[in-house]
């Protein structure tokens, strides 16, 4: 599954980041979105449910649904 489909408040592990398809490119790893990191979907923006707010490492990141859809995740412990 991908991060845009994640359940709120649950921890996942990032499997793969498809940076090649995104214009955000190197921002992913620069902001700590790297395979192997733990990630949690904290909240969605009101009304349109886009962008998303995620917790990764010690920081909160905001990113659009499309940007989150490029992040492959798996449930923690699976």
């Amino acid at each position: 599954m991908v991060l845009s489909e994640a359940k709120k408040g649950q921890w996942y592990i990032i499997e793969e980041v498809d940076t090649a398809s995104s214009h955000a490119g190197s921002r992913y790893y620069q902001l700590g979105i790297i395979a192997g990191e733990k990630v949690m979907l904290k909240r969605c923006a009101p009304i349109f449910k886009d962008p998303l707010l995620i917790q990764i490492s010690d920081s909160q990141l905001a990113l659009t649904k499309a940007e989150a859809a490029l992040i492959k995740i798996k449930a923690l412990g699976s």
Binding site: L53, D58, A62
Partner: protein, 619 residues
């Protein structure tokens, strides 16, 4: 004197260290040829002789934006005029991990640097323990100095370390061959990230506790219901404060210049000199200074919200809607402020990181209904719209005014949408950003920054505005009316000649030479149209805001012109760039003469087209 570069991640606290070390002695300019802000300063209040440059934030040396490239060029000797030899790497101690990548790269290219471990107190309070010795060892022996910039803590030690380092070396590093390509390779990134993990494991003895305050506040500020509500209230409050705070000051500035011109009028004999000083110089300078309250207050609010951390939250909440027209969430601030006045609005577009989106916001902001349009709208609505009620309680003039506001903002969005589709269909824009923890805003820095903005406006935009207003003064005042003149001065002026010359061009809009002539002084500021119309039709008034004056002028207009002409004129004022200050500030903010010219051309074209459309449909 050696130049010390401040480098670090965005939000790492670089600016607060810069502000603390330089106090007020800083210079803000643009980097040559681009609109990236360059902040230079001299160490002040500490016994060290350095110049300091605050470089745009970067995450790693793998740079992508214009701002980031500036930083890279400073590191690699690509900038000719000034070159930093020693760098201070500012690291946010509460977010240590992210900075280690950059630190490792600085070390790798052989750059000498000192680490300012900023917000050390906050990290400690939240239970974090860092082994600074090991951190230094892992990063090639770079000195690590814990600092609390906003309290001035650690500054002395930091400068001492810088001095020691700069005594050792005077060389700048060169960009290693193929480095830019090398650092994009996945294998390289993997290796560096592993190194970051290794350093974090060795250095962080006790992990930081969550920032409970930020969590709590975010659960309200970003709440599905309360979030938009708070945002709405905040935006309305910004708008209201901008008006109510600025108003008395603007009144004071206006009265002062009225007083001044009255004094000069009584002292000097009638003639060219008097006219030059009163109508040219005093009116011109007064016309520039009157923008100051708006600029300063808007930036007080913006810097406060930015320091506090709310601006990023607002961008998050508004991102979806603004993205639809190709603008970032933050563009709401310039667009909203432009409803008071486009000048501070355009200046505030600097909060937008993406250069294309910043430019786009600057270009469309003046289409929103600024307060200088209100006197014009009031006059024309009084002339056109009958004062009747719709649905029994809604005044028709009020509804028309509301429709004009909507028309302005929708036009701005439409232009943004089309420009974006045309010029940057695939321009790299992304939201991805950190929402940093909330912090207590530093009022001193907020005020200092806002005053600085005002000063820069006067210095950088003022000269252009003054020159343009002098040109307008010449056009309106010369040649002088003959001694036995029956008509007001303006009828004999160059402005009238131009008005008559251009009449054929404007007659498809229903404008005669009198309207065209009145448009010329109105380039100084839109509201001047009201007085200019009064002058053209020789209606005397003590005060152009007087109801009797508006009444008789609107009657004259209704008698003189058809509904089609007056509506076309109203539409003209929605689009036309009738404000030289806007040109001055666009020149200043875009650092080019091309952009104000493009702005003038496109808004004139829109004004002409829509006025023409209005006129032919109605007549």
């Amino acid at each position: 004197m050696s130049l010390v570069g401040l480098i670090g991640l965005p939000n790492s606290g670089k600016s607060s260290i810069f502000n603390e070390l330089t106090k007020n002695r800083q210079r803000v300019a643009n980097f040559p040829g681009i609109t990236v802000e360059k902040k230079l300063g001299k160490i002040s209040g500490y016994d060290f002789d350095f110049n300091l440059i605050d470089l745009p934030g970067v995450y790693t040396l793998d740079v992508s934006t214009l701002d980031e490239k500036v930083t890279r060029d400073y590191l690699f000797k690509k900038v000719n005029d000034e070159q930093a030899s020693v760098f201070i790497l500012v690291i946010d101690a509460t977010n240590l991990k992210k900075s280690i990548y950059l630190a490792a790269q600085l070390n790798e290219i052989g750059q000498k640097f000192v680490i300012a471990l900023n917000m050390a107190d906050l990290a400690k309070n939240r239970g974090q323990e860092i082994d600074t010795e090991v951190l230094s060892k892992k990063l090639g022996g770079a000195p690590v100095i814990p600092t609390v910039a906003v309290q001035g803590k650690g500054m002395q030690e930091l400068l001492l370390a810088v001095k020691k380092l700069s005594a050792q070396t005077n060389e700048t590093v060169e960009l290693p061959k193929d480095y830019q390509k090398k650092i994009k390779a996945p294998a390289y990134i993997k290796e560096k990230l592993d190194f970051v993990d290794e350093v974090v494991k060795a250095v962080i003895l006790k992990k930081i506790k969550k920032d409970a305050f930020t969590e709590k506040l975010d659960s309200v500020v970003l709440h599905p219901f309360w979030g938009p509500l708070i945002l709405g209230v905040t935006l309305i409050a910004i708008f209201q404060l901008l008006f109510s705070w600025s108003d008395p000051f603007m009144g004071m500035i206006e009265s002062f210049f009225e007083f001044l011109s009255l004094q000069v009028t009584t002292i000097l004999p009638d003639g060219y000199l008097k006219s030059l000083i009163v109508d040219g110089v005093i009116a011109g300078v007064g016309g520039i200074l009157v923008f100051l309250p708006h600029i300063v207050f808007l930036f007080v609010i913006i810097y406060f919200l930015e320091d506090f951390g709310y601006l990023g939250r607002a961008a998050f909440l508004l991102d979806y809607i603004m993205r639809k027209v190709g603008l970032p969430g933050k563009s709401v601030v310039p667009l909203l402020s432009s409803h008071a006045c486009a000048i501070p609005g355009i200046m505030s577009a600097r909060i937008i990181e993406n250069p294309f989106q910043r430019m786009l916001t600057i270009m469309i902001s003046p289409l929103t209904t600024c307060s200088a349009r209100l006197p014009v709208y009031t006059l024309l609505i009084a002339a056109i719209v009958p004062d009747t009620k719709v649905l029994g309680f809604l005044g028709l003039p009020g509804l028309v005014l509301f429709a004009l506001y909507m028309f302005g903002i929708l036009s701005a969005f439409a232009v943004a949408y089309i420009a974006r589709k045309t010029y940057a269909p695939t321009s790299p824009s992304y939201l991805m950003m950190e929402l940093p923890p909330y912090r207590t805003p530093r009022i001193v820095n907020v005020l200092r920054g806002a005053l600085q903005k005002g000063w820069i406006f006067i210095k950088k935009a003022g000269s252009i505005i003054l020159v343009l207003s002098m040109i307008i003064w010449v056009l309106v005042s010369f040649p002088k009316a003959p001694d036995n003149a029956q008509l007001p001065q303006i009828h004999y002026s160059y402005a009238a000649t131009i008005g008559k010359t251009f009449e054929p061009i404007f007659s498809p809009l229903g404008f005669d030479w009198k309207i065209t002539t009145a448009l010329i002084p109105s380039f100084a500021a839109r509201e001047v149209l009201v007085a200019a119309m009064g002058t053209v039709f020789a209606i005397e008034a003590e005060d152009v805001e007087e109801e009797a004056f508006i009444g008789s002028l609107s009657h004259t207009l209704t008698d003189e012109y058809t509904l089609a002409t007056l509506l076309a004129l109203l539409v003209w004022f929605v689009f036309a760039p009738q404000c030289i200050a806007t040109f001055g500030v666009i020149k200043k903010e875009t650092n080019s003469y091309k952009m104000p010219l493009i702005f003038g051309a496109y808004t004139l074209a829109l004004a002409y087209f829509f006025s023409f459309l209005t006129y032919i449909i109605l007549s």
